[in-house]
């Protein structure tokens, strides 16, 4: 499913495509899934679980919470997606139109984790919205994936660090941190 989506989009993917690539029979497919959408959801869930494991590994390893942990988490995310281009496409390009709920879940998880790491900034009243920051990050990553630059995702670390820190430490400090990264 993941591969086929990457090649021809979810919309154009057929059960025949999936079973062909997996070298299984249609009967086997239908033992596991009612339709291609269920298969997609399972593929996306797996991609997310693997990504999450990689990130928790790296961020947990960075020791104390804070900017250092955030940086490690972003770096791990980019490394993982760059190494798994088909999964990157599935999550970033296909999921938003196939199942917006996946995006919502991701956003919820990431913003909760960020909130746990860093307190929301008190910069002049209502500052940047962490949910919107998540949106900025995905648009930037999609840009790279869509222009065949998946392998170069790790180069986005400074910009994603700016985006991630923005709601919590404010624009000026986020600029500083991103600048230190380059």
């Amino acid at each position: 499913m993941t591969e086929s989506c990457a090649e021809k989009t979810f919309a154009a993917t057929t059960i025949a495509d999936i079973v062909g690539k997996a070298s299984i029979s249609r009967a086997t497919f239908y033992k596991h899934f009612t339709n291609k959408r269920e298969c997609f959801d399972a593929a996306a869930d797996r991609a997310l679980a693997e990504l999450r494991a990689a990130v928790e590994d790296a961020a947990g390893g960075a020791g104390a919470p804070g900017v250092v942990a955030v940086r490690a988490a972003i770096a791990a995310t980019l490394t993982r997606l760059a190494a798994q281009p088909a999964q990157a496409r599935l999550l970033l390009v296909e999921a938003p139109s196939v199942d917006p709920e996946i995006v919502g879940r991701c956003r919820g998880f990431v913003t909760a984790a960020m909130g746990a790491c860093l307190r929301a900034g008190e910069v002049g009243g209502a500052g940047a919205d962490p949910n919107i920051a998540f949106g900025r990050a995905t648009v930037l990553m999609v840009e790279y994936v869509a222009t065949d630059r998946v392998r170069q995702l790790p180069a986005l670390l400074p910009e994603l660090l700016y985006i991630a820190l923005l709601p919590y430490v404010g624009h000026a400090v986020a600029v500083e941190q991103a600048g230190a990264e380059r």
Binding site: S97, R136, V139, E143, Y162
Partner: protein, 240 residues
Amino acid sequence: MSEQGLPAAGDREIDSLPKDLHLWKLPRGRHGLPRELVDRSQRERLLASVVRVTATKGYRESSVADILTEAGVGRETFYRHFKDKQDCFIAANDALVGDLESHVRAAYDRPGSWAQRVHWGLAEILRWFAANPEVTRVMMVEMGAVGPIASERFRGTFHRFTAMLDEGRGPVGETAIDLPDIATIAGGAVFARVYEEVVVGRAAELMDLLPQLTFELLLPYIGEAAAGEEREVAIRSARR
């Protein structure tokens, strides 16, 4: 900073298509109109039709036959104007984006500070989407199901809009981030948030987001204080 309100919204007809794609039903048979006019009308009917059919059935489920029926146009005529369904859809998308762009351009080119102009341009985008919710959904969500050409088109449109942010901005101040993708980082906030609302059918309420999105759009360029001022102006304007 002077408090300039938004340009008068006027009576915007809440319709499923912008006026210049209205359906004209020509009388059947000979009507004595110049060929060019007939052609143009038929082409426009087909453009309006592909959008309507896609909005109803989804792009993949829509056939050329569906488009012909909705438009009241014959098959030969269709293939005189378009190569296939995709060609027709992309032409419709281009016409709609062109309409949106001309509205945004008009708002953005009004005299004012850069930040004000960005706010007015953004207001126009949200207003257009809110006034054309079904069309917006087709352009944003269905485009993903059409294929690589459409997706590239879509990205091209996004970049044309974010490029406008650089116009008349003046020299990069200390506050702006010195990162290559600043326009994408700024515009991405708007796009992602708008998409979220459109995909669940809430495009009609997009104007509610104008103040916060004004803030988020300007923030990477001018920092919290200045972006916050524009947000305040937007909130006050909305109350009037």
